[in-house]
Each structure stands twice: as structure tokens, then as C-alpha cells.
């Protein structure tokens, strides 16, 4: 049962990385869109694509945090005692992002619009960076051993952070291609096609770089990733990322979004499965940290509730989002 709960936690983290990643990625492209007329058009598309989902993805983040402290209290205590600098920075990014996304709809003059755009964009880069960096810190084995500063800022945290920025940019671009197609804006489709290719390439490059960093910093994790239970997922992401890039490049718009999610999700799974059964490498296992049985039981009930109630409801929301449009102002 303990392993099942650890899997649920990993799934929640993965859901945030993929669903939230699409959102953060859109923010990154917003930052890079510039002020040209085409950039403005791209930004309008991003705005429309994000409006329905902004902050709903927070649900996955909150679920991950709550699952962590309820199911594995000692993991939670150790992680936050060590990594509070990273979490503070990620949190700051999260608030600024939400606040300035809303502010874009309030600002009247172009200058404050520009400021809102920049803050929104920069925080869209920093938030996933610092969240992923905390996973890197855990993987590095420094949680609970070094000072908070050493645990929070080292090659592993930077490597995980950089990969996550590339991965979110990749998923963001891939889904924006879809949004541009829905709005029948061929210019924007081409615009984001190029960005999928760029981000896919960046993801492959940074991913390779990260493997080198892991090899030097946490060799046992790399071994498990390449020979142990992490292998299928590591392989999957290594195959899918170039495949999606190629598909989108050639303009074959089939399965590219679901494959993007699978590629990014496998990335998280590769780390999670490679590290199992350790929550903190060589320090704390799932069995050592797990909460008493009654708590596990309640958590599984909640997880079942999410699957039975929330997931179908999400389907309805998605359906309505695809179908419903506002009446246009002239109507």
C-alpha cells in the first residue's frame, strides 16, 4: 500500500509537470514573443489559450504538497527544512505569475501592459525552474546533509531546473500549435511549429547535459535510470521527444500533443522510478517514511475520489472549453 501511495504522489507531481508545464511554457513564449505585430498576435493567442486554465493547475501542486506531508511527514520535514530557499523562490514566481496575468486584463496604458507582460513571462521561467530544482536537490542526496544553501544550489538543482524550462517550453509550444489550428491562424501555426522544433532540440541538448551532470553527481541514480526500473521511461522520453519534434516539423498533426505529455511525463517518471524505493537517496525509504495505516487508507479514498469524480468532470470542462465561445461584442 505504501508503494501505491508513493506512486500516487509521483502521479500528482507528473500531472503538475505536464498540465502546469503547458501553462508555464505558454508564459515562456509570451516572454520571448517581443513587441512586433506578430509577437502581439502570438501573445493574444497565448492569452486566449491560457484564460480557461489559469491557476486550475494549482490543484495538482496543492495535492502533491498535501500528499507529501500526510503520507510521508518525515520526507516533508526534511525537504522543507533543507530546501526552503528554493520553495520560497518558486512560490514567489507563482504569485507574481498569477497576479500579473490578471493585471494584463486590467492595465490600460501600453507601458504597464509591457511591465505586466515581462513579469508574467519571467515568473513563468523561474517557477518551473525552482520547482524542478527542488527535485534535483532531492535526487542529489544533499537534502538533510549539507546546509540549506548547499542543498538548494548545486549542479544537480541547476541541471533539473534547466531541463524543466526546456520541457515546459516544449509542451507550451506544442499545445499552442493546437490552439493556433483551432483559431485557424496559419501564420501562428507556423510560428509555433518553429518553436516546437527549437524547444525540442533544446530539450534533447539539456537532457543530455543533465545526464552528464547526474553521472558525475549521483552515479547510482544514473545507473538505476539506465539499467533499473527507470529505464523504460528514460527510453520513452528519449524516443518521443525527437519523434514529436519531427512530426510537428513536417506538419503531421497527429498524436503530437498526447506524445508531448507522454515525453514530459516519462521524464518525471524516469527520475521517480530510478530513485525508488528511496524518497531521499540512501537516507529515507518509502517504507521508513510512510504514515500509519489509517492515514494511508484515507489517502487512497481521496485518490479514488479524484479519479472517480474529478477526472470525468474535467472531461466535461474540456468538452465545454472546446465547444463554448463567448458571443462576440458585436452580437
Amino acid at each position: 500500500m505504501a508503494d501505491l501511495i508513493a506512486l500516487v504522489l509521483l502521479l500528482a507531481i507528473t500531472a503538475y509537470s505536464t498540465a502546469g508545464g503547458v501553462d508555464f511554457g505558454a508564459g515562456i513564449w509570451d516572454l520571448l514573443a517581443g513587441t512586433s505585430s506578430r509577437g502581439r498576435q502570438a501573445r493574444a493567442l497565448i492569452d486566449h489559450a491560457m484564460a480557461p486554465v489559469w491557476e486550475v493547475n494549482n490543484v495538482w501542486l496543492v495535492l502533491s504538497i498535501v500528499l507529501c506531508w500526510t503520507a510521508f511527514p518525515s520526507l516533508f520535514e526534511a525537504t522543507f527544512s533543507s530546501l526552503y530557499p528554493l520553495f520560497t523562490l518558486a512560490l514567489l514566481g507563482l504569485i507574481l505569475r498569477g497576479a500579473f496575468f490578471a493585471f494584463r486584463h486590467v492595465a490600460d496604458d501600453p507601458r504597464s501592459h509591457r511591465i505586466a507582460d515581462v513579469v508574467f513571462g519571467v515568473s513563468s521561467v523561474l517557477t518551473p525552474f525552482f520547482f524542478a530544482a527542488s527535485l534535483g536537490a532531492i535526487a542529489s542526496g544533499r537534502v538533510g546533509s549539507g546546509t540549506p544553501l548547499e542543498a538548494s544550489f548545486n549542479p544537480m538543482t541547476v541541471a533539473f531546473g534547466v531541463v524543466s524550462v526546456a520541457a515546459t517550453a516544449f509542451s507550451g509550444a506544442s499545445f499552442l500549435v493546437g490552439d493556433a489550428r483551432r483559431y485557424e491562424a496559419p501564420e501562428m501555426v507556423a510560428y509555433f511549429q518553429r518553436r516546437v522544433v527549437a524547444a525540442g532540440t533544446a530539450l534533447i541538448a539539456t537532457g543530455t547535459g543533465a545526464l552528464i551532470v547526474i553521472a558525475s553527481q549521483a552515479p547510482s541514480l544514473l545507473r538505476s535510470m539506465l539499467t533499473g526500473p527507470g529505464l523504460p521511461f528514460a527510453l520513452l522520453t528519449m524516443v518521443l521527444t525527437p519523434v514529436v519534434t519531427a512530426l510537428v516539423w513536417r506538419g503531421i498533426f497527429r498524436w503530437y500533443r498526447i506524445s508531448t505529455v507522454a515525453a514530459v511525463g516519462s521524464l518525471v517518471f524516469a527520475w521517480g522510478f530510478a530513485q525508488a524505493p528511496y524518497l531521499l537517496p540512501d537516507r529515507l525509504t518509502i517504507a521508513q517514511a510512510i504514515a500509519p495505516p489509517a492515514t494511508q487508507f484515507v489517502l487512497l479514498l481521496v485518490a479514488a475520489g479524484v479519479v472517480i469524480l474529478a477526472v470525468p468532470a474535467m472531461g466535461v470542462l474540456y468538452y465545454l472549453d472546446q465547444r463554448s465561445t463567448l458571443e462576440s461584442p458585436q452580437a
Binding site: V59, S81, L91, A102, T295, D321, T325, S328
Partner: protein, 466 residues
């Protein structure tokens, strides 16, 4: 390097307490509308469908936009809180996470449902048949109730912990039902639930009370005032009873907190009620109105009822004098506001019953315009009463606040606090500006209410903004 980045220094207890108080006090302001606004909106939509009244439907649809924007802000401040448990109080969660987390996990599910169904509600106005739309909306009120129960369950565990077996500082066994339903959950839940609906009702109505004072008195205004105001006013007498029951339950369950609320120093019968006033560290009471015997009478319906005094608790196990005074004054303000609200509610129902119409006096609407703010103040005061009154404990009798705090240095937490204050101020400014702009636009032109809101269905065509 550590010194340079402010990662060395003294204990972060004080800034951590201030930061938690600040962020919780902010979040609590968003809770009443977050939980109860959907119900008000659904009642309005129900009226619109039943009476075939397009005005009621327009009000409901506009409210749903405000509801969604405010929910998004609440989601952000709530996420911050969940991280603060780790950043500021890692030991609390390390020791009691398995117990406290039960409530929060259930709240996670409720939050999930709310987020999705608010989305469905917002998108469904155009897409779904009116009855389907209304029925799907009915998921929202119970989700809000479930979430409120779950968070209060965690809070009541901190006040009256139960259901856990601790060995060497580690929770080794849990009785889930006993942990979720501790002694204080009953009154905490009903008292807060009623408070949320009252606050939401009075707050929404107060907007239209201001409109009335400014001369807007058409069907739209009257309907949008009457529905939330009637619900809130009907709950006000209920709250007096529930509040009274809660306070008297504390006499047994949370004796130190009750002694602080009434600033009772020595255990005694014939205990007077001190209204206002403060206590000093020798147990003397200054200022305030002292009503002889009243406290004993209220608690046990007899002047012989015995109240336990603060001085009977060990110095390090009871609120300090300052904390006791804060608890006492906050409690008095809350009760006072409750009584004013009851007076306002009775005058409303008096006019309604006698003349079969809404009141028309300027003073009634002036008071009604203040009722929303008054309720928010009362909610804050009630929350201060229960939290400050529990000091110095974070989990009563089991863990002190000072033992739960992070090892991060004070300078770090001070910096974080200062940053949060600035960011929250920005957030509040954006939020208010957005609402004011939406309201102005709605008065000016009859667009789809979602135009210009940062959350909701997207427009049909892609248009670059200016």
C-alpha cells in the same frame, strides 16, 4: 556566503508568526465568498429559471464571473499557505502531518471539484440547457461545505487533538475518525459555516446597498440586494445561538482559551463579565465595563457556575498577558458586531413582515452598506480568538509553536514576509481594480459579462489586444 544571503542568525519565531498571521488573515477574507457565493448565485439562477426572469439570470451570470476571479485569487493565497506549513513550520508537519493531513487531503479533493465545477458553471452559460447548467452548479455548495469541514477538522485537531498514538515523538498509530472528528469540530464547523454564509450574503448585499444610496433602485438592484441580504439576515439569529453554544463548549474543552477570552484570572464562581478592558500581569482588570455575575450566569445559567482562571495554568502553558488581552478584545468585538447584525436583521424582517416590501430608510441602507465589512471584521476577530487563545501551543498540549518553527534564520523570514506584503498589496490592488472595471463596464454596456475577465470562455476570434 551564508551571512551575505541572510541565512544565519537568530530564531525565526517572531517573523514566522507574523507571516503566518498575515497570510492567513488575508486568505480568510477570501473564504466567505469562495464557499458561499456559489450558493447565492445558484439561488439567483433558480429564481431566474423559476420566474422566467432574465434580470435574475443576468445577475447570476455576472456574479459567477466575480466568483471565478475571486476563486482564482483564493487558490493562489491558499497555495502559499500550504507551502508555508513547510517553510515556516516543518516540525509541525513532520510530527503531526499524518494526522493533520487527513483534513487537508479531503480539502484537496473538495478544492479540485470546486475548481472544475466553477469552470463548468462559467462555460456552461451559453452551452448548456438552463436546467442542466443549474443542476451541474449544485455540485459547488456541497464541495464548499466539504472543504470547509476538512480545513476546520485540521484546525480543531490543533485545538483539541485526539485519535493519535505517539511514541518517541513520532505518531505511530492513528484512528482516522477520531482525528477528523475531535471534540471541537462540531461547534467550530457550524459556527464558521454560518459565519461564511452571513458574511457572503451581507458583503454582496452591501454592494447594492451602496447602489441604493446612490439612487439606483430598479428591479435589478432590488433583487440583487434582497436575495443575499435575506439569506444573511435569516442566519444572524442562528449565529447568536450557535456562537453561544460554541463559547459554552469551550468552558469544558478549551479552558485556557476561555479564561483568556473572559480574562478570568483566578478560578471562581459568581464570575463577572468584563466587556472591553484589559488585564495586567497581577490579574487586575483595567478599563472596560464589569457586569457582576454575568459570566457565570451565561456559562451555567447560575451565579454559582465556576470558571477556571488563567493563573491555574502553568506560565509556559497558557497565553501571555498580551495574548490573553488580544483574545479577549477580539472576542468582544466579534460578539458586539454579532449583536449589531442581529439588530439590523430584526429591523429588516420587521419592515418586511409589516409592510411587505423592502425597507426604504437611508439609515437602514447605510448600515447595510457597512454590514459586509462588519462581517469580515467579525470573521477575523473570531479567527484571532481561536488562534491567539491557543498560544503558546500549535497543537494543544502536545507541541509549542516555538518547537515547530523552522531553523531558517530570522532575517530570512523577515525578508520573505516583507516581499509577501508587497506582493499581496499588488494582488489586492489588481483584484479590486479588476472588479471595479468589470462593474463599470456592466453598467455601461450589456456585453457578455465574461468579456475582460481573466478567466472564462474564450472569444470566437483571435484579436490582438491594444
Amino acid at each position: 556566503m551564508d551571512v551575505l544571503l541572510g541565512l544565519a542568525g537568530e530564531s525565526a519565531l517572531l517573523p514566522s508568526r507574523i507571516q503566518m498571521a498575515f497570510t492567513l488573515a488575508t486568505h480568510v477574507l477570501l473564504v466567505p465568498l469562495g464557499v458561499a457565493f456559489p450558493t447565492l448565485t445558484l439561488v439567483m439562477e433558480g429564481i431566474g429559471i423559476a420566474r422566467n426572469d432574465p434580470v435574475a439570470l443576468r445577475i447570476a451570470r455576472r456574479w459567477s464571473v466575480v466568483m471565478a476571479v475571486q476563486f482564482a485569487v483564493g487558490a493562489v493565497t491558499g497555495t502559499i499557505l500550504s507551502f508555508e506549513f513547510g517553510i515556516l513550520w516543518p516540525r509541525l508537519m513532520g510530527r503531526f502531518g499524518a494526522a493533520l493531513g487527513l483534513g487537508f487531503a479531503i480539502e484537496g479533493l473538495a478544492f479540485f471539484l470546486e475548481a472544475i465545477f466553477i469552470g463548468i458553471y462559467l462555460y456552461g452559460w451559453k452551452r448548456l440547457a438552463p436546467k442542466t447548467h443549474f443542476l451541474l452548479g449544485l455540485v459547488l455548495p456541497p464541495s464548499g461545505v466539504l472543504g470547509t469541514f476538512a480545513v476546520l477538522s485540521a484546525n480543531s485537531f490543533m485545538n483539541t487533538p485526539a485519535g493519535i498514538t505517539v511514541l518517541e515523538g513520532r505518531v505511530i498509530d492513528i484512528d482516522a475518525a477520531a482525528t477528523l472528528f475531535t471534540e471541537s469540530i462540531g461547534y467550530e464547523f457550524w459556527h464558521f459555516m454560518v459565519a461564511l454564509y452571513m458574511t457572503a450574503g451581507f458583503a454582496v448585499a452591501s454592494v447594492y446597498a451602496v447602489g441604493w444610496l446612490r439612487g439606483r433602485r430598479d428591479h435589478y438592484q432590488r433583487l440583487a440586494f434582497a436575495v443575499p441580504f435575506t439569506i444573511a439576515a435569516a442566519l444572524t439569529p442562528v449565529q447568536l445561538v450557535v456562537g453561544d453554544l460554541s463559547a459554552r463548549a469551550l468552558v469544558e474543552d478549551q479552558q485556557a482559551k476561555f479564561a483568556a477570552m473572559e480574562i478570568t484570572w483566578a478560578t471562581r464562581d459568581h464570575n463577572p463579565e468584563v466587556i472591553g478592558g484589559v488585564i495586567d500581569d497581577s490579574g487586575q482588570i483595567h478599563f472596560g465595563v464589569v457586569v457582576p455575575e454575568l459570566d457565570s450566569l451565561l456559562v451555567g445559567y447560575s451565579p454559582n457556575a465556576v470558571i477556571r482562571g488563567l493563573s491555574t495554568f502553568a506560565v509556559d502553558a497558557r497565553p501571555t498577558i498580551v495574548e490573553a488581552n488580544i483574545t479577549h478584545l477580539a472576542f468582544d468585538v466579534m460578539v458586539g458586531l454579532g449583536l449589531v447584525g442581529a439588530a439590523l436583521a430584526s429591523s429588516y424582517f420587521w419592515v418586511l413582515a409589516r409592510r411587505r416590501r423592502l425597507p426604504e430608510g437611508v439609515w437602514f441602507y447605510r448600515l447595510a452598506a457597512c454590514a459586509g465589512v462588519g462581517c469580515y471584521v467579525a470573521v477575523e476577530m473570531g479567527w484571532i480568538t481561536t488562534e491567539v487563545g491557543r498560544q503558546p501551543w500549535i497543537v494543544y498540549g502536545l507541541m509549542r509553536v516555538s518547537d515547530a518553527v523552522t531553523d531558517a534564520p530570522a532575517s530570512y523570514v523577515w525578508t520573505m514576509l516583507a516581499t509577501l506584503v508587497v506582493v499581496y498589496a499588488l494582488l489586492a490592488y489588481f483584484f479590486v481594480t479588476l472588479l471595479v472595471k468589470l462593474a463599470a463596464r456592466w453598467r455601461r454596456e450589456d456585453l457578455a459579462p465574461e468579456v475582460g475577465a481573466p478567466y472564462g470562455p474564450r472569444p470566437e476570434r483571435l484579436e490582438a489586444r491594444g
